[in-house]
Amino acid sequence: MRHDCIIYTILGLLLIALVLMSGCTQAPAATGPSEIKIGVVASLTGPASTTGKDIWQSAELAADEINAKGGVPVRELGRSLPVRLVQGDDESTREGGMKAVTKLITQDQVHVLVGGYSSAVVSAHQSIVADNKVPYIISGASSSAVSRRKDLDTSYMFFHRPNTDDSAEASIQFLTEVFRPAINAKFGFSDGRKLRVAVIYQDSPFGKGQLDAVKSLIATKNLPIEVVAEEPFKMGESDFRTVLTSVKSKNPDVIYAVTFLNELVPMTQQARRDVGLNTVIMAIENNDDPDYYSGVGMYGDGMVMESRFSPYAVPAGSTEAATRKFLSDFDRKYGGFAGMMGAATYESVYIAAAAIEQAGSLDRAKIRDALATIRVPQMMEIMKNGTITFSPDYRESKFDLYVVQLAMDQKLGEPRPVIVWPGNLKAGDFSIPDWYTPGSP
């Protein structure tokens, strides 16, 4: 009796298993993928982790918004698919980036890649992207040497950022049109006096690209600017005292700083506080981040920054509403404000979604072709002609850039920016700080 009971139990279990298994096979067969996988390449650890976190959170915000609206319609599948983001931590290193991108492509099998911050890191994994032919919307890596390289096929890479030539041009234009006349007028310098610029740059493709662009612009346009110092520093450096002492000995009128966020904070503080260098620092757009304002404190007062997205200085006009919504949504979800790299990556996720919708397919080649011809209305960053589109030659989008000046807000205990250039966007006038000392007459 006991024996029969065991046999019936086993038979019963087998029957249940059979029913379950047959249920599995009789379920409607999945027709194609159930989600769109977007790989986000970001420096989530290492020296650039502050920016990396911003990139990831902004991408997440965009994906959540797209999914809340029902996902992305894919014509070939006849339905909409949700977006799923996959993290690719490049560890702020070239090797880390190569590992992360290889994993995203081969293991996670993402349909599109977005993100990428450091030019050095992106340049190291470009060959992997080229070999595997995965569409990659790069929101950082501003060095023109990255987007215009000839040694590999970059046709699957789309650069949603101004290149080093674009940002250097805006910065130098500001220095020529606004800064130089202002100090000439205030200190009684002759019109023929050249502006003395010291360039302190990260020893990387990003830094060297900016330096080359600045020097090339001055030479080709015969601008009244003299580069009196060129001081490189190692990526991730936090002690700039000796470099700044060297710069001080060259008597510059302005320091052109090509840095990452975690480098600009100590550089600005050490310049004024430790070295007594009472010179305005002109920084590059990637530093326009809430963490810079909170980190630099009172020493940021008076400095200027070329920008394309500022968390605290929203340009009036067609992008204002979208920018304020993005900032407010980001603040609600994560507490705090997003920076420029976050905004660019948020837009990149939307561009990827638009390209997939236009391609009507998750085929990587078709998505690439869609990106090559895509026209997306500008979102938060002000684009040339109001549209996000990629140039036919190097697949770079073109921005209208501006310059902000920081002024200390005593109530907040940290500085806040005001747009001071160009004329059509400015909300205030550039002013020479009281503590400022110009270079040699």
Binding site: P47, P232, G236, S238, T242, V243, T245, P266, D274, G297
Partner: protein, 293 residues
């Protein structure tokens, strides 16, 4: 002022400041190596912990950050003792490979632990003396850096008095010179190991406090580069030699800053190792090292 004495004097002062941080780090490292012959690659993480302890209590209490040395040093001594007892004592004498992997494991544990609590964002803090500068002739000396140099000197004098004048200090030196001999003389060398590891970690904690007070930024991953330089310094100065660590630290601080001034900041890290190679070619035991170390 271009190339003038004042500028070189200013650069030498920055070198002296960097040297102080290196001296504290390398002295602790060398003390541990001298007694235990242990290679602890996680020593830079003690410095990192020192910065966060200072930062945390500074935000919490608003105390003068220099007073927080009296917190960071004891806490790190305690942490060092725990690490020695739990991680290094069980593998003592089992081979260098075990020590290396234990210390690599500790690096990840400390880094990720701190990142979990404080996040991995870059932090900095402002000393109450940040805006005060003393002019010595044409050279501007920020008060904080003068205090840092003075504090380092005081710590080194205290360490010297402890090692040379107290019974426990003499026991530590005896353990370092001849472990078996020390045991035969009734010295509890395992207790000396624990104490030495604690003091080494405490010195790194002091370096962390001074790093944070000087206004330098820090995050959970900042300890690796100073630790590598700490190793270069103790090899340069001679393994196990405290004077070697002091001279080596000062030399690296000076050479780094003068190199950054004359050749550019890109060479700052490379020069430490170029100097190391040159010294080892001329004197393989390091500046103050002895045969057999």
């Amino acid at each position: 002022m271009d190339g003038g004495i004042a500028v070189l004097g200013q650069v030498a002062f920055w070198g002296l400041y960097s040297g102080c941080i290196y001296i504290l780090l390398a002295t602790g490292l060398n003390l541990i190596f001298g007694v235990m012959k242990v290679v602890n690659f996680a020593h830079g993480e003690f410095l990192m912990l020192g910065t966060y302890i200072t930062f945390f209590f500074f935000v919490l209490s608003g105390f003068n950050p220099y007073l927080l040395l009296f917190l960071s040093i004891p806490i790190l001594i305690g942490a060092g003792i725990i690490v020695e007892r739990l991680c290094f004592r069980p593998i003592l004498g089992t081979g260098k490979l075990n020590e290396i992997f234990i210390s690599l494991g500790l690096i990840y544990i400390f880094q990720n632990g701190v990142a979990m609590v404080f996040t991995d964002e870059w932090r900095s803090m402002k000393s109450p003396f940040a805006d005060l500068t003393i002019a010595v002739g044409p050279i501007q000396l920020p008060l904080d850096y003068i205090i840092i140099v003075a504090v380092t000197a005081i710590i080194l004098v205290c360490l010297s008095v402890f090692l040379n004048r107290t019974t426990t200090g003499k026991a530590i030196r005896a353990s370092s010179q001849n472990r078996k001999g020390a045991m035969l003389m009734g010295i509890n060398v395992e207790r000396m190991d624990m104490l030495t590891f604690g003091i080494g970690a405490g010195l790194a904690g002091a370096a962390g406090t001074l790093w944070a007070v000087s206004g330098q930024v820090f995050n959970p991953y900042m300890g690796s580069v100073p630790a590598i330089k700490g190793f270069a310094i103790i090899i340069l100065g001679g393994l196990g030699s405290i004077p070697g660590a002091i001279i080596g630290g000062l030399a690296i601080g000076m050479v780094e800053n003068f190199t950054a001034f004359f050749l550019g900041g890109s060479w700052k890290d490379a020069i430490s190792f170029i100097l190391l190679i040159v010294v080892l070619l001329v004197k393989p035991t390091g500046l103050f090292g002895e045969e057999g170390e």
